[in-house]
């Protein structure tokens, strides 16, 4: 055991004290690095999509809106990732012009992706094994039509507060919950949590509660104007 000394007076002693704190600081900083940078990335498995798919190309160049490819069926269910027949309504062949010599790598990649899609999937009638960015847990019932219908009821008239776009082009409403399209523009890998099995894009219940548990929603206009209350059965099955 060291002798107990009063070290505030002696510089050597202060130095010694600081040195004594070093391991603590080292551990602290190492934990910060691990906790902020290393472990979060270890928690996720990363998978790339079988094909490069660009939402930007489809929306900016082809002028498509979300509902053109992801729609609500007449029975009220949501199609989710479109099947080949939806793609076929435009892709009757390879639409991208073959890139010339001076084409950028991006253009070449886009051409290759479409070629591969038409030849390997569309023509043989094989569904593309897309990795899904967002899939609700099996105990969740999420109604797309309810949100299309109900969110606009108020938000169209209060654009200053939260602009959700229009029912014809609900891109902003979709983006409230879905991964931003910029991120999906490139070949964004799907990150799957190794513990839970859900992708990093899967909405947490707290995200749902931002609106569902917001008293402004169900007390807004007399009780239950939106009928989107926070009862468990509103979302669970």
């Amino acid at each position: 055991m060291e002798e107990k000394t009063n070290c505030t007076e002696s510089p050597a002693c202060r130095q010694k004290c600081a040195a004594a704190l070093l391991p603590f600081l080292g551990g602290f900083i190492a934990a910060l690095v691990l906790g902020w940078l290393v472990i979060p990335s270890l928690l996720f498995d990363s998978e790339t999509q079988p094909l490069l798919f660009s939402h930007a190309t489809h929306m900016k160049k082809a002028g498509a809106v979300c509902l053109d490819c992801h729609s609500v069926r007449s029975d009220g269910s949501f199609t989710g990732i479109p099947q080949n027949d939806v793609c076929m309504s435009c892709h009757n062949g390879i639409l991208t012009p073959e890139p010339g010599q001076g084409a950028s790598p991006v253009e070449k990649a886009a051409y290759q992706a479409e070629k591969s899609f038409v030849e390997n999937y569309l023509n043989p009638g094989k569904p593309v094994p897309w990795r899904k960015h967002q899939y609700q847990p099996q105990n969740v019932f999420f109604s797309h039509p309810a949100h299309f219908q109900k969110c606009y009821t108020c938000h169209l008239t209060m654009q200053g507060r939260l602009n959700l776009g229009t029912p014809e082009n609900p891109q902003k409403l979709c983006a409230t919950c879905h991964v931003s399209l910029e991120k999906l523009d490139r070949d964004a890998p799907v990150e799957t949590n190794i513990l839970t099995g859900y992708s990093s894009g899967t909405l947490k219940m707290s995200e749902c509660e931002r609106c569902h548990a917001n008293p402004g929603h169900f007390y807004a206009d007399g009780r239950g104007r939106t009928f989107a209350n926070n009862a468990c059965f509103t979302c669970h099955k």
């Binding site: 603590f24 551990g27 900083i29 190492a30 928690l43 847990p137 859900y198 947490k204």
Partner: protein, 690 residues
Amino acid sequence: MGFDRRAFLKIAAGASAGIMVTPVPWKLLDDVSIWSQNWSWIPVPARGASTYAEVFSKMDPFGVPMKIRKVGGLPVRVLPLPEHPLGGGLSPLSIAEVQMLYSPGRLRRPLLRGADGKLTEISWPQASKKLQDELKNAGGKAAFISGDETSSVTEVLSAFANALGSEDMYLMPSEAQSAAKAAELMGIDARLGYDIEQSDHLLAVGANILENWGTVLRNRRVFANSRPHSFRKDGGEETGDSLSLVYAGPVQNNTAAVAGAWLPVYPGTEGILALGMANMLIEAGKTVAARDFEEFKALASAYTPEKTAELTGVDGKKLEAEVARLLTAQKPLLIVGSSAGGGAGPIMAGVAVNALLGNINKPGGLVLLPKAAKVLKGASDLAEIYRNDLIKFFEREEKPALLLIHEANPAFALPNAQACAAALKAVPFKVCFSTFMDETAALCDLILPLGMGLERLDDVETPYGSGKIGYCISTAVGRPDAGVLNTANVILNIARRLGKDLGFELYADILKAKAGLYGKGGDPLAGGFAVESAERAEAGAFSFRPEVLGKALAPDEARGKLRLAVYGRASLGTDKTGIPPYNNKTLRADELAGSLMSVLLNRATAARNNLADGDKVSLESGGGKIVARVRVFEGIINDTAGVCRGFGHTALDEFSRDKGANVMEVVRPVPEPETGLNFWAKAGVDIKKA
């Protein structure tokens, strides 16, 4: 400064403090809680778009049209098809059909029994070749059993048997067979049908019409439509029914539970009840212009109300009241039947009563339906095949060289099941086309996996009990990877290779031709919907045949201490399917406890036999013995033991095995005098504590 314990503790403390200001602990806590909700061994249902297909159940013999819901292309649910003429709701068996696609008892690969008695998997071409060789060797000494009387497969088998020169083509005993025999004996060149839709008073004698007799879904829909939900204002009157239903039988069964009245009669005396009623109707002045009416009258007059009451156990006053109701009803209809083994005599007596009521070929009456259409020239008529008695075939000393069984389980279903199994074993080469590894398949030398109704193209022609001719196609909606083939296609293929021309190469072509004969419009092979025809056969001159009836119905001594009433429950499946996986939850604790099933005795009967509720007893008859537990149930006639059939499977899967005992082991068939059929409705048993 070296790295000592103190430094280590300091690093650990620093790391602990540091980790708390990162998202890691909170993220992990959250993730672990989610992880704990999703165990890998709990399956997650697959997702996809819902699509629907219309089919007709091949598994439920009681006429069940259905709509299959598929998710992502795979069937997940059976839904009702109320628009269909026979539809409206579902039976407990048909609902389970999608699940049964994956039943553990399913057969997936052809199996061949080697010299050592072990079964080995072989390929379809090998199996087909083996079957072809065996059939070639057997030639005219091959025998055939079909368990599907409504399907054209029976026609194919019959044509093939005829082409081989075999006379041994059989159907499993059924109500349709008894009815065909009754019609034949009475000189009626048609099939019996019942127009319950337009009847206003229905007396079902022995026929459990709301559970397992005839076209059950249709019967039940007619019953439901005829009976408005009761509504009574305080002190007010009831709403009336447009059809009154009375059930006569030994056990207060599912039909009796909702019938306006239950008329308890001893098992096997249903025909006598009908004859007694005929006598009372004749006394009331009813008559029929038939050749032998006077002789019939003389026979019936022996069955006075007192004698009828004594023989059948029915209460004399109730009998009078029921006859009075038949006389006052506008369109009364009598249905005599059983769940199987009732014989032709009672059905003949039933036809006689209906004739006296003047309802033959009338709205709401007994209707005569034209015979089934045939497209294969070499095939026999269904009525001809019905003439061959399967029980006699099994009792025969001389065995066939080969026995081919399609969708039938005689080793379980026939009376004296063990003797049947022994007779089956004695056949040198046994082949079966079966969906499940049932008791019969387990005895066979070559076992060929047959697709379930949901996996094959097949047809259904006028299930027995229907009031109209109907023809429905059932298409395959199930898994394409099941490794199963259709019996008819295999046989057609072998016939061609053996040089026997049956006129068709593919079963689908046979069905197309048939659909054409029945006038089915649109795509001939489209599933589900039926063509229906109200076409009636000529009533013609029929006779009562009292000389046959008198002997067939003659009362005899009970063969045992107690009479045996065998009843059925739809949720127990059929002899071929066993108990569907979900359905054993529908059995109440008083029906099956562990592996012990119940035998029903009423309090007086139990007391007379010194038995009490819960006693373990054995029921014995003719060397057979089954064990059961006494359930004192007041809904059964005196001196009668009620046993549910469908228990006691020894093969199939864990959902059917080791549950109760097979009552057919104590049921002994006896030849029905004069009719040439075997029947077993008058069986008796001895009961004692086990």
